[in-house]
Symmetry: D2
Subunit: 379 residues, 4 copies
């Protein structure tokens, strides 16, 4: 029998036999622009609404996954376990807070305001007392959140149970929310669902892009396994991982979504992430005739980058598609199309980054500079 208090400790002993939950993955994404790159998930459930797990498990799970901060956001108005568990909107946080502190994970108190559309579901985070948020009028709940110093984002605006066509719609209620000053962001990714309209609103209305798991059951997180995605993660660029620093970063919209091999956010952040992750070992290419020349690209991050050539370089064949796997070095080859060329030039080879989205349907463009010197091959 393993009494619950001993669970974490016992796992040390059996670590080689099962899944070694006491190990934390190091998510390798560079810090940028003078900020720490925090890995966060601001939307998840426990048995205190319709989740399947006890609150401490969410903390253990997030610590193992390499996250820096999470928010508990159980439903206020949806309590399917209430025949067995009396409603208490501070319980999950209170149960798990000390454990999170011990592990160095920032735990944020939150709640999901669960209404029909409009306004739909809203997550309030950085609140003080969840039990004070039980009110009939949803606007009164928002006012209470503001009073407690909390801030709000709109969850899954395109959720098919509330928008059967899967298209997010902006209502006057959301204008009201925006005017309160505490609506700071929108869920562009909720679990595995991306909303294009929501993405565009973030740009137009200057709101933070957010990607969250909305996880209800245990989350299996397997970085090692190829093609098994991790949970949606909101990268937050903050001074440090304290609650107030995260809140400051969110209010200033310093976020990027990382999910499904994609990074979604403003050009400034995506460019900085790319430049800090990728390096190239050669800037100049000298060849004779159609000789094949090699250069190597190193990926110093856990992000995969997929590039597509968009400039036509006359007479020289550059790779059309480049997939740079995480933490690997890729060898690439170039050569001219003919044996009798004489070229001495500085060129900019431009690639579109297929998995970096600055706007809906708009990708980051990056450029590699090369000095080329080709001598014709004598026969």
């Amino acid at each position: 029998m393993k009494l619950k208090k001993l669970l974490f400790f016992n796992l040390l002993i059996i670590s080689t036999l099962i899944a070694q939950p006491q190990f934390r993955n190091k998510i390798n994404i560079p810090n940028i622009l003078g900020y720490k790159t925090l890995k966060c998930d601001f939307h998840m459930h426990t048995v205190f609404s319709d989740g399947d797990v006890w609150p401490t498990y969410r903390v253990e799970e997030a610590w193992r996954d390499g996250l820096d901060a999470i928010a508990f956001t159980d439903h206020l108005e949806y309590q399917p376990h209430k025949d067995y568990i009396p409603s208490n909107f501070n319980a999950a946080y209170n149960i798990a807070k000390n454990f999170a502190d011990e592990l160095g994970l920032t735990l944020i108190k939150g709640a999901e305001i669960t209404r029909k559309m409009p306004p739909g579901h809203l997550n309030a985070i950085f609140i003080k007392d969840g039990n004070e948020l039980i009110k009939d009028d949803w606007k009164a709940v928002v006012e209470e959140v503001k009073k407690q110093g909390g801030i709000i984002f709109w969850n899954h605006p395109s959720w098919i149970s509330q928008q059967p066509d899967g298209i997010a719609k902006w209502y006057k209620e959301h204008d009201w929310l925006l005017q309160t000053g505490i609506l700071f962001g929108l869920e562009v990714y909720n679990a595995n669902v991306y909303s294009k309209e929501t993405h565009q609103w973030c740009i137009d209305k200057k709101l933070a892009v957010l990607g969250n798991s909305d996880v209800h059951g245990p989350l299996y997180f397997e970085w090692a396994a190829e093609n098994v995605a991790h949970r949606p993660i909101t990268l937050v660029f903050a001074k440090d991982s304290r609650e107030e620093s995260i809140k400051e970063a969110l209010l200033n919209r310093r976020t990027v979504i990382w999910y499904n091999h994609q990074l979604i956010g403003s050009e400034k952040f995506l460019k900085a992430l790319f430049d800090s992750s990728i390096s190239i070992n050669k800037k100049s290419i000298n060849a004779i005739g159609r000789e094949t020349k090699n250069f190597q690209i190193t990926n110093n991050s856990d992000v995969e980058f997929d590039l597509k050539l968009i400039t036509d370089i006359p007479n020289i064949q550059f790779p059309k598609e480049i997939k740079i796997l995480p933490n690997k070095i890729l060898n690439l080859q170039i050569r001219t199309t003919k044996d009798d060329l004489k070229i001495k030039d500085k060129i900019e080879v431009k690639y579109l980054v297929k998995n970096m989205l600055t706007e809906p349907d708009k990708n980051l463009i990056i450029s590699f500079p090369f000095e080329i010197e080709i001598e014709p091959k004598l026969r």
Copy 2:
């Protein structure tokens, strides 16, 4: 937002992105001796005692893992969540029963009688009403179990919190239990802990060997990954997977433990499992001189078999160690030690199966018959 009712259904949609929990593994272990080989786990916890998960998750988890039957056994006398969840010893079963029925998994109502040693912890299974088991006197609880038609096994007799030297001890209280007629087995494996004394008692006192997970958190079960063990499983040889058939099999001690690449049980069952799993493609070997001859062993099960040669076959080199990975075909090579031998013989090559234990420190012995015909090599 994923309301809980929809959780399982939604997973169909996102199945390619995360861990595809709607898939059930087929555990490939042959049926033997006219019985079905059921894969069972009779010891696990939910949030209704000190577990981390909601009851339906245990069902989903077991179904995915390929199990046929499980028992919920929350602690009667240890209720660390009681500040948040009022004690109710039928709740877990009632919540999950319909879901188990839909999936075709046999869910057994149980409870863990949680006392200091002696008698220690006892699992009652096939009970009718858990709430009736709350009594001061543990013997009265056992009587109530018997009254309800339940049967009992003794959990982790060597648990270090109750036996600091890690050695199981048999008390007069256990003699009393044995005399009730409802003590049918002992946990030889509890989680990853094997108890040698407990194993010996099963043989001496004619009790069923049991291996159970005693899982508290979510159970990560990864069959594909090499060297990641599955949970301890009690194989039950029963007519079918109905509750009464499992009970009949347990009362008649038709069990084998499968854990940590080991199979533990009586010679009769282990022999039948080996013979139904392993086949060999050649019965006769003809060679000239020191010519190398090949034969192939096929493993038709998910069990790995590790063999060690124990007979000395004069003049012929057989492999000393054979590791037969699950569901693979292994090529083996033999040859004579000299070029000038003439042999015509029927031999029995005996191997000890290192991972099949009929008693503590006693392994199953198996034998491959070969007809050998060696001609000397002419120069």
Copy 3:
């Protein structure tokens, strides 16, 4: 030092440390229509043309991968290693034949007639003496193949080095080849390249579809790793794995290509493979109101099946997309759209199998029959 003769034997000893090459995978694809389903690869290279490996390695590799038959097809007219290795078009076969026999793998002698288009590259298999195929006139080579009892297929008709637009073209030379009677098939898949025109020709001209690896370096074959494809395999439906049986099957066009999660071939074979691989646990559904009902689909093969619903069943929601992973059991859920329906009907639910191609852009259609009985829910 490991002398080469001992290599295979030594691997037994070190098997737990490295990649255990002495194990053979069992490819689980059912036998159909009274034939054995042989797994074959008829196109590969060794150091005796431009390959990177010694011939015996190709045999070991194919045996490990679970193949039943392979052909060596080194280039006749392309000998880049000739400064180091004198040309010899029987050497590879002669070196590896005994080893293949010992392992029970059928090794077929072949050669790649390597000419510019037309006729392009042709593989001759079941030949007797490769060195007799060195002739200036390619038609004379074909005549010699015929004389030796060999048969021919046309390799990668769409190869971009010979068809820069990637579109296969049929020349009068191929008409001539067809008239010889020994052209039995076309490579619809060469390595990872599919040719649509070639696929259509197989149907129009009644030729066997072929998928081959054309492997030059060592082939890493990892069945366990999700999303890592195996080599292109030609499934041959033959009486047994002897050379003459394979030849008979090829001459009678009994082949299906398995590659990239796809099966390509005639409706008759694809239907038989699906029906032998997939089973369903319920034929009748009884529900009350919008109750969710479950049924389970079992995949008894190593092939993944991807289904797409193509019939509109009024008032009942069937899954629109079904992905049935290899060797797993999938749970599916259905329910009606309203609570007040009364239905008693026999229905045929039709799915298109996205990864089974009977013709270019034409998929196999399969059908699940259900008896439905729905009672309205009383309030």
Copy 4:
């Protein structure tokens, strides 16, 4: 058809489908003591003796595996392919040198002097002309190696084909070799075989420890897969990866073996590797009573470290066994044995590193300093 010249280039296109051989792993082992930590393998074979692969494949394979330098060491006196490939002891190097240069891998010309014991097999590396090494008298071969500027190590002194008891023996021939001044090291690990006597000789005679693959077939190298070992690697601590720098480092015995989760070498290098790989997040522990306190250990390398507690810290329970997986963060817990202790102390907690060997049967000892302040718990 993939002509060989195009093989590497083509793989870019098919990289997502098969094993992506154009990617190089980054082996994460820190540089120490002002030197680069080069990953080297000085013993391997090609088709030019008894290997299974063409020379360029060895280069591609080593580059992918993340190695910095390799030596080709085909047998001089064992040429089993000579019926097909005329002997040429410079061919392998000449064929692969340009390719190695393009990839930035240091390729060293070598040869295996293949004699019966004594002296057994000797690898000469940094030689200039392999064909000049064909001489009857092995001492004449050694003199020729010295003349060419080459240096020598003794391969697998305990090889069972030359020492049937598996115990290495030192002969007067090896004394002669030592006196030549060009014997710089011994293979302590050859493939997966460790020789204890050889290890002791390295210490006694001040020779470099070496671990090499002696690979003959293709080498499957899977860093990601847990428990699948990589090839034996000799870590060389050198100024850079040029031939002369590697030679200087070898002559000065700056090597450590990395294999089978073990590091073998002098205390100085092992200590530096441990200290550069491992960091701990807390130096002081403050607790009240039996409160559990956590600290975290970060492993910044690809090496797994297994620690065993060897100091008895009175009244405080430290973990007895610590397994620190590569590139992970491990959470550990400590607490006192009683509630009423008052401790204020600086302690050194010593662990033996089970997988770091400074001598046969002697492990590196490391120490973590802690400031402890425990207050008794008031009731």
